[in-house]
Structures are given as C-alpha cells and as structure tokens.
C-alpha cells in the first residue's frame, strides 16, 4: 500500500530539510573567514553548536519521516526540497536537493552524532594548537560535504560532494603541514581517491549517457510513480530514475560488444571503483593507514565513522542497479571479503595503535561491502545487515579512535610498546576502550555481535559458504588484534616513564567517550530490519539465530584467548612466535610491500619513464622543430646572399640569364 504523501504539507523538519547541511556550511564560512583571528574558544563553541543543531534537525527529520511512513511498512523516497543547479543541455539538468529515505536518514543521524561528539572531543584535544580555528573550519567543511553527499538525490550531486569530502580529508590529514610525512600522506590520500574518482566519473558519464538516451521511454512510468514525492521534475541523473526497474531493464539489455558483459555491469563496476577508492578497498587501500598522520579526532570522524562509509552508502544507494547486474554484486562481495581478510591479517602485526585501528576499519568496511555483495533483491537481508553494521561500527570505532587519541595525548607517542599499565592511570578511558573492544569482537550483549551475526546470516542465507568461512575467520582475527592492543596498552607494567606519569583526560574529552560507549551497547537492539529494508517483503525475524551466533562467539573467544596467552605476562612468547614465522612475519608487517609497489610504479615508471621523456621530447624535438625552421630561413638567407658577390658582371650575367629564363617559361607555358 503506497501511502499518499504530498510534498506540499509535510512536517516542519521535512519541509526545511536543507537545514541539515546548511548549518555546518554557515559555521564553516563564519569560523573560517571571521572568527579564526578573533578567539579560539569562540570558534570551538560555534562549530560544535552548528553541528549539534544539524544533529537535532536530522533527528527531527527521522521522527517525522518514520511517523509519516511507520517502520516495517513501505518507505517511499522523498525529495522534499531541490533547486536547479546546472543545465547541461535542454533535456538534462542537475538539481541540488536533499533526499529523504531510510538509508539517508540513517547516515544523516550517524554523521551528525559522531561529528558532534568529535567536535566536543577536539575542543579538549586541540587546546593550545596554533591552527585551532583552522581545524574547526575544516571539520565543519567536512561535515557539510559529508551531509551533502548523503543527501544527494542524484548521482552528479553525490560526485560533487564526493570530491569536496576528498578535499576536506586532504586538508585535515595535512593539518600539521610542517611535518613532511603528514604532507606526503595527505597528497597520497587525495591522489589515490582522485584516481578512484576517475573511475567513478567515467561511470557517471556512462550512466548519464545511457540515462539520457533511454530517458524518453522510461521516464513517464517512473514520474507517474514518484512525481508526488519530488520537488523538481525527474532528470536523467536522479537515483530514482537510475535505480528504477524500467530503466534498468532497458539498460541491462544492452550488451557491450562481443564480450557478453552487459553495459550495466561495466558501469556498475566503474561506480564501485569510486566506492572502493573512498572506502579503501583492496587495491586502493594504501592511503588509509597513512591517513593516520592527521590529528586523532580527524581519524575518528573521517577515517572511522563517516567518510570511509561513503563508498558503502553509494553501493547501497545504487543497490537495485547492482542487483540487476549480478556480476557487479559478486565483484563487490569478493573484493569486500578479500579486503577484510587482508586487512585483518596485517592488523595483527602493526605496532602503531592508530595503524591497527585503521586496518581494523579496513577489515570492518570489507565486512559491510561483502554484506551488500551477498544480498540480492529477493533476499535483501545483507543490505539491512550492512547498514546495521555501518551504524554500530560507527559508534564503537569512533570510540576506539577517541580512546586511542586520549592515550596518545597522555603518552605523546603512537607506539603501543611505549604504553602499558594505563588502566590504573586512565580508568574511564580504559573502561570505555574495553566496552568498544568487546563490541567490535562481537560478544553477546554489545552491538557488534548483532550486526556481525546478521552479516554472517546473510552470507550463509544466500549460499555464499566461502565468504561465510572467510567472515568467520576474520571475526576471530578481529578479536585477536583488538585484545592484543588492549592488553599491551592497558595491562602489564609502565614501559616508559611517560606512561607512568599519564593522567586522566579532562571532562570535555571523556564525555563523548561515555556517550559513545552507551551507544555501542544500545545500538545492537535497534530493530534495523523494520527501519531499513529494500526489495521484497521478508518474514519477520526476531531474536538471535543461534546457528550463526555460536560459531561467531566461539571464533571471538578463540581470538581473545590467543591474545591473552601471547600478550599477558612478559610478552616474550609473542616475539618467539614472530621469530618462528620469520619472513612471513616481516612480509605481513611491511603490509605486503603494496606501498613500495605503488611508489615504484608512480615514481620510477610514470615520472621517469613517461613524464620526464615527454618534457624532454617537448623541449628538444617539438621545440627543436621550431628552431630548425628558424635556422632554415636564416640558412636560405645566407644561400641567397651568396649571389651578392659584388661583381657587376656577375649581376649582368644573372640579369641576362633571368631574362632568358623568363622567355623560356613564357614559351613553355603559353605556346
């Protein structure tokens, strides 16, 4: 039953949906241009207030949306507010607006909550830093662009804010621009994501092209269905159109030449390439570990909770299209699975606390991707599971990062071997960090358990046994490396004097930790299936599916056990195993030398073998050509000037010979 919703008279929040991205934008302009030179304190407050008010607006939207169309029922896609931004050609305009549907509401909530907490936390964390105002301006810019991305009703607006998110992450990673490593990391992040965006752009172009050419036929049916919900008329770039069954049917039918792969798959793989870049999937993951150079709140906000999930959100948004081209979905699944395994394995060997958390984020993102990958339109459990895991992961991963930040703030070093025995010095951080570790490892009462189970159930349900096995093994690994860093940092004796003098973080920093801890506990019980679902109606399912829960918990227990075994006590046992593994250990520690390969490819191959020869070629050959033509005229000048010998009689002979030549030419030409 499609509830009759008329755009004109919606609730206050739904009518003013544009407030959510507007607040951070206004505060970015305010802080960036005017408040920065005034006072640092004021910047912090204004920035946090702005994000907080956009959080409130998001909550308002969520409530009104779910009162309008109650959970469990039909969730129509609304575009309550939009304006024409850019007209490419008479039939093809791009509207900027805000889309309201289950996943965008969810994302808005997640982004605004984590962003508010991180703003609060960084007031304490960044105190006394010279670039305080600049930091908050960049944070607000990031929040604005993330909200813009989430609220994008069409793929081009998403691409616009996609780039803006990339730039703000570049600015934030390179915040300490005095440090060469931070500068290199920010550059690497931006270039790698930019490379992925190339694929995304080509994908957008293909979708735009086929969208426009097929727009004539498919449009009337779709507009009939969705006209009521949208402020502006349907356009080729809109998601409503791109994911509509009519369009997909016609587009899916077009085969790309002899290979038999449908054009739809090609487009979807290209789009996924953009998503893979932003969510740091396997080939394009190298920038995320280096992104840890930025201040920790940045890592918490961007590289844990919000930006990296943009890729997942994109795939979710285009899910119907992915579903129609089955092959693209398989690609998503396998890439996701492999990344989670790959990252988890590396995570076990890293020494830097933030690098470990980074690899754990990589691994959890792999989880979400494989969840989407395994889902199909018929049994869309994976879709809900992925969104659920996104929600829970945002909470506890942000908490982990903020906790790590607190620890680093106290010990002034990232190395876990410099810390140790901090549970006595920093009790609140220790307690919240423990909750988050338990959540991520997937133990029963906490949120991690529920979301991970749903993913495993989805994988099993749709018959992807291989992926299920990998996911299970990764769950174990996650537990192992999480408890490894937990034990090394908080248990055992103080390894350095700084660790011994560590003191608890101020209130403004531990309040967000507490809130996040509560959230990561409560988040598990939210009945996500009712709120977020797609495709066919599926049977109500409640309670815990024990067939999945038991093996998952067993794997987690196994991982925790090995961690306890290796890292409590003197820790010599860990080194012994490391030595025994020998080469494999160093290989894994060096992140499988992927960075070195990239560096080699770019510097040696592209710079030396391509652009230097081009520059040389341009300077000598093409430029040489121009110079030689100059020389040729000069040489002909010398040649002709040779005739001027100064001898009168040679002039006379040239004269007479010339006259006769004229005669001959006349005779030959005109007889």
């Amino acid at each position: 039953m499609t509830t009759e919703i008329d755009i004109q008279h919606l609730g206050f929040a739904l009518r003013h949906v544009w407030l959510v991205p507007a607040f951070p934008l206004v505060s970015f302009v305010l802080v960036g241009l005017f408040l920065r030179p005034l006072s640092q304190k004021l910047c912090g407050i204004v920035a946090t207030l702005a994000v907080f008010s956009s959080w409130m607006a998001a909550c308002g939207i969520a409530c009104e949306y779910y009162t309008l169309c109650p959970p469990g029922g039909e969730h129509p896609v609304l575009v309550p507010w939009a304006f024409e931004w850019l007209r490419y050609q008479p039939g093809m305009t791009v509207n900027v607006g805000v889309i309201v549907d289950p996943i965008s509401v969810l994302l808005m909530l997640v982004v605004t909550t984590v962003s508010t907490l991180v703003h609060l936390y960084s007031i304490g964390y960044m105190k006394g830093d010279t670039g305080f105002g600049r930091f908050f301006a960049y944070l607000n810019l990031f929040t604005f662009s993330m909200l813009g991305l989430v609220a994008a009703p069409n793929i081009l607006q998403m691409y616009v804010f996609w780039e803006l998110v990339g730039v703000s992450s570049f600015l934030l990673i390179g915040f300490y621009y005095q440090k060469p490593s931070a500068v290199a990391a920010s550059k690497k992040a931006f270039i790698v994501t930019r490379f992925a965006d190339l694929g995304f752009l080509v994908g957008v172009l293909t979708l735009g092209y086929f969208g426009y050419t097929l727009f004539g036929g498919a449009a009337p049916a779709i507009t009939a269905r969705t006209a009521a919900h949208c402020a502006m008329p349907l356009q080729p770039f809109d998601f409503l159109y791109l994911t509509s069954p009519e369009f997909l049917a016609r587009f899916g039918a077009l085969a790309a030449g002899s290979t038999g792969i449908t054009l739809l798959t090609v487009a979807m793989v290209l789009v996924f390439m953009g998503a893979a870049g932003k969510s740091a999937m396997f080939p394009l993951h190298i920038w995320l570990p280096d992104a840890m150079e930025g201040p920790t709140p940045v890592s918490a906000l961007i590289h844990a909770a919000t930006m990296v999930v943009a890729g997942v959100y994109l795939v979710a948004r285009m899910f119907p299209a992915f579903a129609v081209s089955g092959a693209a979905l398989l690609v998503v699944a396998y890439v996701g699975a492999f990344t989670s395994l790959f990252a988890a394995v590396i995570g076990t060997t890293q020494d830097d606390i933030k690098r470990v958390l980074a690899f754990s984020t990589l691994s959890q993102l792999g989880y979400m991707m494989l969840a989407l990958g395994v889902a199909t339109m018929e049994s869309p459990l994976g879709y809900t599971a992925s969104m659920f895991h996104l929600f829970t992961h945002a909470c506890f991963k942000a908490l982990l990062f903020l906790g790590a930040g607190a620890v680093i703030h106290a010990v002034h070093s990232n190395e876990i071997w410099d810390m140790g025995g901090l549970r006595k010095k920093m009790p609140i951080t220790h307690f919240t960090f423990l909750i988050a570790t338990l959540a991520i490892s997937g133990f029963w009462p906490l949120s991690g358990f529920f979301s991970k189970d749903e993913i495993l159930a989805a994988a099993l349900g749709n018959g992807h046994y291989g992926i299920f096995a990998v996911a299970l093994f990764v769950a174990g690994l996650t537990a192992f490396y999480m408890f490894r860093i937990y034990l090394v940092t908080f248990w055992g004796e103080h390894r350095t004097d700084k660790a011994s003098h560590a003191h608890e973080i101020p209130a403004v920093m531990w309040i967000p930790l507490a809130i996040l801890a509560v959230l990561s506990v409560v988040a598990g019980y939210v009945p996500m299936a009712k709120f977020v679902s797609i495709g066919a109606e599926h049977a109500e399912h409640h309670g815990i599916n024990f067939a999945i829960a038991i093996p998952a918990t067993l794997a987690a227990l196994l991982g925790t056990g090995t961690a306890l075994l290796l890292y409590t006590g003197s820790g010599s046992r860990a080194d012994a195993i490391a030595r025994s593994l020998g080469g494999v250990y160093t290989l894994v520690k060096k992140k499988f030398y992927v960075d070195e390969v990239y560096l080699f490819v770019t510097h040696r191959l592209i710079f030396n073998l391509v652009s230097r020869p081009i520059a040389w070629f341009d300077r000598t050959v093409v430029d040489g050509g121009v110079n030689v033509s100059g020389w040729a005229t000069r040489a002909s000048g010398h040649l002709f000037s040779w005739m001027q010998t100064g001898q009168v009689q040679s002039y006379g002979s040239w004269y007479a010979a010339g006259a006769m030549l004229v005669l001959l030419v006349l005779w030959a030409a005109l007889i």
């Binding site: 030689v628 020389w631 010398h638």
Partner: protein, 142 residues
C-alpha cells in the same frame, strides 16, 4: 652574266636577315659587357648594343611602315640617349679612377654581402639545448 646577277640577287637580304644581323651585334655587345675587364670597355659594348637596337628600329621602319618616319626619329632619340649615358658613365669612371687609381671592374667589389660564418642547425640550436639541459639535470626525487 644576267643569270649570275640573278643568282646573286636571290640572296637579297629580306627582313629576317637584317634582324639576324641586329641580334648578332646585340649579343656581341652583351658578350662584351659581361667579359670586358675595363669599365670603359664595357661602355663601348653598351654603345654597340644601343646602336644595334637603333638599327632595329630603322629596319622595322623601312620594312613595316615605310610611310612614316617613326623608326628613324626613334633612332635619333636613341643616339641622344646613348650620348647622355656615355657622359654620365664617363664622369663616374673618371672620378672613380681619380680616387681608386683603376677602373678594373673585377676590383670594384668592396661592397658585397659579408658571408659570415653560418652555423649548422645544431650550433644554432646549441644555445637552446644548453638551456634545456640546465633545466633537466637529474634533480633528486622527493
């Protein structure tokens, strides 16, 4: 006798023979102008050429348009022009002789194009190439 006279008369010079004559004299004059070493000698050759051209006019007058006297009048004017030319020519040669002590035409080539050294394409390009190499010394990589 008559028969002998008649055979001689058969070779009477028509228009063609006359014109052949003038072109022979003209080319001899031209040869003189191109080879004579002494400037005055060249003027002699010029006189010859002008004279043959004047003769040409008279021939055409006699053969083509006897009713009028255009050819002869033109010849008279040619003679006058030749006179003027000789006057100026001789004045210049005398002045030149007084200054240079010779009127040998081959030595009158103080003014000619200085055939400067004319560097090949690489040399011309050399300055540009140095600029390029300076620009691309293998700079260290960051």
């Amino acid at each position: 006798m008559n028969q002998l006279l008649a055979s001689i008369a058969a070779y009477a010079p028509g228009l063609r023979e006359w014109l052949l004559l003038t072109s022979v004299i003209f080319s001899i004059g031209l040869y003189g102008l191109l080879t004579r070493r002494n400037a005055v000698g060249i003027l002699l050759a010029v006189e010859l050429m002008l004279n043959s051209a004047a003769l040409n006019f008279v021939i055409f007058n006699r053969f083509c348009m006897p009713a009028r006297i255009d050819g002869s009048v033109m010849a008279i004017f040619v003679i006058a022009v030749a006179a003027a030319e000789v006057v100026v020519g001789m004045a210049i040669f005398v002045a030149l002789y007084r200054y240079r002590g010779t009127v040998d035409v081959n030595r009158m080539d103080t003014m000619k194009d200085p055939v400067t050294s004319f560097e090949g394409p690489v040399a011309f390009n050399k300055e540009v190439l140095d600029n390029i190499n300076k620009q691309y010394k293998s700079h260290h990589d960051h």
